[in-house]
């Protein structure tokens, strides 16, 4: 049990941090919903950061740390699935990677080179051609897209499908950990500055306690995500994803509530994080789906 980063992990997270810092702030003149960064994508590709999980000194845990950090940037790149799920796919599959679950729109689907297509228990992979996918407008703060064509599907074996589900859970939890942290940081800043009744809002205990509870949840999501990335255990992954979706659900409400009307604007960056969190809440069956997985993997079959 060791909670400090190794020197390799520190070196890598520092490098990711240096890149991410350039993309942390929302441009003041950006008033849209989805903010994605081609330049961020380019730098991560150039540095071969999408493949770090495959390098023994790093492995999936370090990849999860990178995903967590990148998720705190205002600009989004498709990192979580590329860094944590793609290395698990059987054979060579190009990135960006996106998920199409039960035919619903998904993040980065319109630009994905590999699709993970989930239909009930069945998971297949596809290489969509440009006409197979299209972009959709959404509130979710990621570029969203949907599958409109019928690309050839490569069905995964049950074992591979289970493995993909597991790493999707880890990816979801790591990404949520970063998003939740960014949402908290943004809210803390507001509560420290905004005054009502002659005092900063952050001095009111009713808000302080809720923020503190959220901070505890956020730390829990981070720890569970890291543990799951380290162990690659099905139960750990299910617990991490459940705690992430559970905490994310609460966080998305609480953070907006604390910001008042300011949180409703596209000027303030909060929506970037809360609506990305919301995009993750429905994945893999939502909380009910993760709970079933916990029941199967942690409590054994009923």
């Amino acid at each position: 049990m060791d909670f400090t980063l190794t020197s390799d992990q520190t070196a890598l997270t520092d490098a990711i941090d240096r890149i991410a810092q350039q993309f942390d702030a929302k441009p003041t003149d950006f008033h849209g919903f989805a903010l994605s960064g081609a330049a961020l994508e380019h730098q991560l590709t150039e540095g071969e950061y999408f493949d770090i999980a495959l390098i023994p000194e790093f492995g999936p845990l370090t990849a999860a740390l990178a995903v967590e950090r990148l998720a705190r940037s205002a600009f989004a790149a498709e990192a979580a699935l590329s860094m944590l799920v793609r290395p698990q796919l059987p054979g060579e599959w190009p990135r960006p990677v996106a998920v199409v679950e039960s035919g619903r729109p998904g993040r980065f689907v319109a630009t994905a080179k590999t699709l993970i297509v989930i239909d009930g228990e069945r998971i297949s992979l596809a290489r969509p051609s440009p006409g197979d996918v299209e972009a959709v407008e959404s509130l979710y703060a990621y570029p969203m897209g949907r599958l409109v064509g019928s690309p050839a599907l490569t069905k995964l074996s049950a074992a591979d499908a289970a493995n993909v589900r597991k790493w999707m859970r880890v990816a979801l939890a790591a990404e949520a950990a970063g998003l939740i942290q960014a949402a908290i940081d943004s809210t803390v800043e507001h509560l420290s500055i905004r005054k009502q009744f002659g005092r900063p809002l952050g001095t009111f205990q009713a808000l302080r306690h809720r923020m503190a509870e959220c901070a505890v949840l956020a730390g829990g999501v981070r720890l569970l995500a890291r543990k799951a990335a380290f162990s690659g255990n099905d139960g750990d992954a299910a617990l991490a994803a459940l705690h992430a979706q559970d905490s994310g659900t609460r966080m998305a409400y609480e953070m907006h509530q604390m910001l008042g009307a300011m949180g409703m604007t596209l000027e303030h960056p909060l929506h970037l994080w809360t609506y990305r969190i919301k995009a993750l809440l429905s994945e893999l069956g939502g909380r009910g789906g993760q709970a079933q997985a916990v029941a199967t993997h942690c409590f054994g079959k009923p």
């Binding site: 049990m1 400090t4 900063p200 952050g202 001095t203 730390g219 916990v294 942690c298 409590f299």
Partner: protein, 378 residues
């Protein structure tokens, strides 16, 4: 960063488990109905001496005081196994966790020679005289007075919620020697000193746990003071930082959650809402576990623990709450004689957010120290 145990840690845990298997009586679970009940206190007295003989009572203490200088992981693994087994050490866990170490750090030579060896031998029970009827969370407002009379102090006042006071040999007492936060001093007082009266408070949490302790003209020598006059705040801060993640509550909560789920499955009652609720409770237990391990890791590295310890407490409180709620909703028979360990756990769990500092106080600390929100006006 890694989340595995070392082979030594695994083997130590196995040693503790086999010791428990060998020394706990077969009907242990049905008698384990309160950490300070008569049966359990009597058992603890014998059990702790055996633990001490086996080198399993204070392994993390310095060799000079009967330990083997083992690290904080050893102490915590021990604490997990004991708590999961229904804390067969009774009140002595406090000696092991913080009273002994506090005396080693702040005690006089005479105090150390007198009090530490019996603790290391598993032969003594202490109680913690902090809270008062008017001083709970606002501990600094305590009123019990210690007035100097020549070289002695005369103590008058009342303590409340004092655990284990019925069986304790010695009290770690906070009393006021002058006004203000820095006017509080610590006294180590034998409970047989004339003028001390102990009254048990009947409670939902089990027999013998909480008491009122009255001090009526209790005269003690100046040498009973721990540290200097007015040093109580500084000393207890150190002591209680050890206590904050002191009890690995998540470990028993998780064990009882699994037991409740097994029970439901056997009865064909595990489905629907129970699945989601049990999964959520499990995630809360594992979150609390990792938070606590993070603190122990800091302790091993000599990093001063900050507000993360409060976060670990809050995570633990929520784990206890979710497991408790799950049992009440889906295994109601547990609180009606159906499963004594589940009931015993429930009784211990409901105090998680109150004993050793209320959860709301921890939330305040997290808001200020972890989130760096501006302070509340006073």
């Amino acid at each position: 960063m890694e989340f595995d145990w070392t082979p030594e840690q695994l083997s130590f845990r196995a040693t503790v488990r086999s010791f428990l298997a060998e020394h706990l009586p077969p009907n242990w679970e049905t008698v384990a109905h309160g950490p300070a009940s008569e049966v359990q206190s009597e058992f603890a007295d014998v059990f702790c001496r055996k633990l001490a003989e086996a080198g399993l009572l204070v392994p993390h203490w310095p060799a000079r005081w009967g330990g083997r200088d083992a690290d904080a992981w050893t102490a915590f693994i021990l604490a997990e196994e004991m708590w999961m087994a229904g804390e067969p050490r009774g009140g002595q866990y406090m000696n092991v966790n913080w009273i002994g170490p506090t005396l080693m750090r702040f005690g006089s030579e005479e105090q150390q020679q007198r009090y530490i060896p019996p603790m290391a031998g598993g032969a003594t029970i202490w109680c913690q005289g902090f809270s008062e009827p008017e001083a709970g969370s606002d501990l600094a407002s305590l009123r019990t007075r210690a007035d100097r009379h020549g070289s002695n102090y005369r103590i008058n006042g009342q303590k409340i919620w004092t655990s284990y006071a019925g069986y304790a040999d010695t009290c770690f007492l906070l009393a006021r020697t002058s006004p203000g936060k820095n006017g509080i001093s610590i006294f180590l007082i034998p409970m047989e000193t004339p003028g001390i009266t102990v009254r048990q408070i009947p409670s939902v949490i089990g027999e013998g746990d909480i008491h009122e302790v009255f001090f009526d003209e209790v005269e003690v020598p100046g040498t009973a003071m721990l540290g200097a006059e007015g040093q109580a705040w500084e000393i207890t801060r150190t002591a209680l930082s050890l206590e904050r993640v002191g009890i690995p509550r998540f470990a028993l909560a998780s064990l009882m959650l699994h037991r409740a789920v097994d029970r439901l499955k056997k009865a064909g009652r595990y489905g629907g809402g129970a699945i989601e609720q049990s999964a959520r409770a499990h995630a809360a237990c594992e979150s609390a576990r990792l938070y606590s391990y993070n603190i122990i890791d800091q302790r091993v590295r000599g990093i001063a623990t900050g507000p993360e310890a409060s976060a670990a407490r809050v995570a633990t409180v929520s784990a206890e709450r979710l497991v408790g709620e799950f049992v009440v909703e889906h295994c109601p028979e547990a609180l009606a004689g159906g499963e004594p360990m589940l009931q015993a756990h429930h009784q211990r769990a409901i105090v998680a957010g109150i004993a050793s500092g209320a959860a709301e106080i921890q939330l305040n600390l997290i808001a200020t120290e972890l989130l760096k929100l501006p302070r509340e006006p006073r």
